[in-house]
Symmetry: C2
Subunit: 320 residues, 2 copies
């Protein structure tokens, strides 16, 4: 794709052309380097959307919750995009099924855009694809971009880190699970959602979360205290409160200037990922897969060591 075509694509995406948007997202998903100049231009044009990440245990009802979130946001005249990401599977089966059900509600509304993405390679790759798709949607003037994941593992954490506000969804009666949440999910949550709150134990689950939060020594007195919102997504109850909590979080980030720090943290991690990608591309072209495999085999057979192999690779790619 030449420069004129790229800039034409950018112009069409920012003018709200859905076909151009779909084409750009396909380019991003296929990892086409062609998309880069467009993404670079779109990055500079963007930064207006509120990017929301939704993660939590499988079975917590995230899909239904996100559909309801979109519905409430539409009532408030927001343009909404949903990126449903499944890092555990190369197939979009589950997510696509969810889409079909959502489509009955939201399809035909030109102010809603839904896209499912599944893993085609590394988690890092999927996280960077998600970030680029969010960038395209931002430039296409969606006000709210919701990144929804299927589970709550490390992969999901990496993916939702592209968001400004992260919702962690749990359900009553997951005692041990809340302990597990401590590991990596607790510290990324900006808003907790106890979904299926009509089940027994909802108040207890909320109380347990409140205790965990009060024990979190990393949050200072001026830091954001994640609110705990109870919802019954199937009936739509509590969803307006969740939307309010997300809006408050965004306002907090803006008032305190923390939105800048978040943007910089994301820029840093994106630049690091791009640097690593470029490094490995040079290893691939200059060292080549055969010599690399031979070096690795020598190290494994103890005829060489990782430091000597790394030195040779650095010399070969011109980084002495």
């Amino acid at each position: 794709m030449n420069a004129d075509l790229t800039m034409d694509l950018v112009a069409r995406v920012t003018n709200g052309d859905r076909r151009a948007l779909a084409r750009l997202i396909s380019l991003i998903e296929n990892g086409a380097p062609d998309a880069r100049p467009a993404l670079a231009a779109l990055h500079r044009l963007g930064g207006h959307a509120h990017v929301i990440g939704v993660t939590g245990s499988p079975g917590a009802g995230k899909s239904t919750l996100v559909t309801q979130l979109a519905r409430v946001l539409r009532q408030r005249c927001q343009r909404v995009a949903i990126i449903a990401v499944d890092p555990t599977s190369p197939f979009t089966g589950g997510a696509i099924l969810g889409d079909r059900i959502r489509m009955q509600d939201l399809a035909g509304d030109s102010n809603v855009y839904i896209r499912s993405m599944a893993s085609r390679g590394s988690v890092g790759g999927l996280a960077s694809t998600t970030r680029d798709v969010a960038r395209a949607l931002d430039a296409a003037h969606f006000d709210q971009i919701i990144i929804e994941t299927v589970g709550a593992g490390q992969a999901e954490v990496e993916i939702v880190r592209a968001a400004q506000s992260i919702v962690v969804v749990t359900v009553p009666g997951m005692g041990d699970d809340i302990q597990a949440l401590k590991a990596g999910i607790l510290e990324i949550a900006d808003v907790f959602c106890v979904n299926k709150a009509d089940r027994p134990g909802a108040d207890q689950a909320a109380a347990e979360l409140r205790i965990l939060l009060s024990l979190d020594a990393q949050r200072g007195p001026n830091d954001w205290r994640p609110p705990i919102v109870k919802t019954v997504a199937m009936q739509g109850s509590g969803v307006a409160e969740l939307v309010d909590a997300l809006a408050e979080h965004l306002a907090f980030l803006r008032q305190t200037g923390q939105i800048v720090a978040r943007g910089e943290r994301q820029a840093r991690s994106e630049i690091q990922a791009l640097l690593y990608q470029e490094l490995m591309r040079r290893v691939d072209t200059r060292v080549g897969p055969d010599r690399l495999a031979a070096l690795i085999a020598e190290v494994a057979a103890r005829g060489s060591d990782p430091y000597a192999a790394t030195d040779e690779i650095l010399r070969t790619i011109g980084l002495p």
Copy 2:
């Protein structure tokens, strides 16, 4: 440290000098580049130990189990080293407490070496430190090196990947937890251990694991089928069977040649980590933290984009 001193340290470690070993491990933990020539030499001399990783949910009794493992291995005249790693905390408190209890049993035995390690920085850094400490212990002629983690998150998975045989420990009555295990732990397990098997539900837990394993489409008919061993570590029962299962796994790796593939996978990931580390060191020295921070701020403020920033960094470090 000059080259003579380094080689002297190597000679002393391989001759079983515990003080030299402790000094080398401290150098590794402090991230001293001084340790590299020694580690390179030790890598070429090593490869004899069986490196075992033990991971699983907090509260599964891993510490007690590992102590019992060490005791049975000692009865079989094996020299045993334990690396207790806590990626969730910068403090070694918990692990040190565990050590003290273990010490009463195993301290004074010159064929046992126990070391606690806590997180001082990134997970990647801790995983690479663990790998290097295992390398030093291997060269110091320990037959069995057990890497024990406190929890079962992604960090723990990354750390125990340095092992040749990985034990995943679970306990009866963790229904939902076994579901969570599916996420990332199931595929790394070479042996499953249902500990506290005198509790109700032990057979059910084993049966659930068996079903999960039978559903694992990634394992072919000639692949290793992880055995499920029931133990009561507090009483020492089942531990001999666990030791047998680990020995069988090592024999399987050797017979099938998969031990070579595992070694190469580790060498590849270690070389990639070293390359990234060297790349970032050059960014630090040639671009410098100030210019890097300015580039990141520009990208976050949309005056630049990640691709342009990455290009400038690559040019500055001499990778055009």
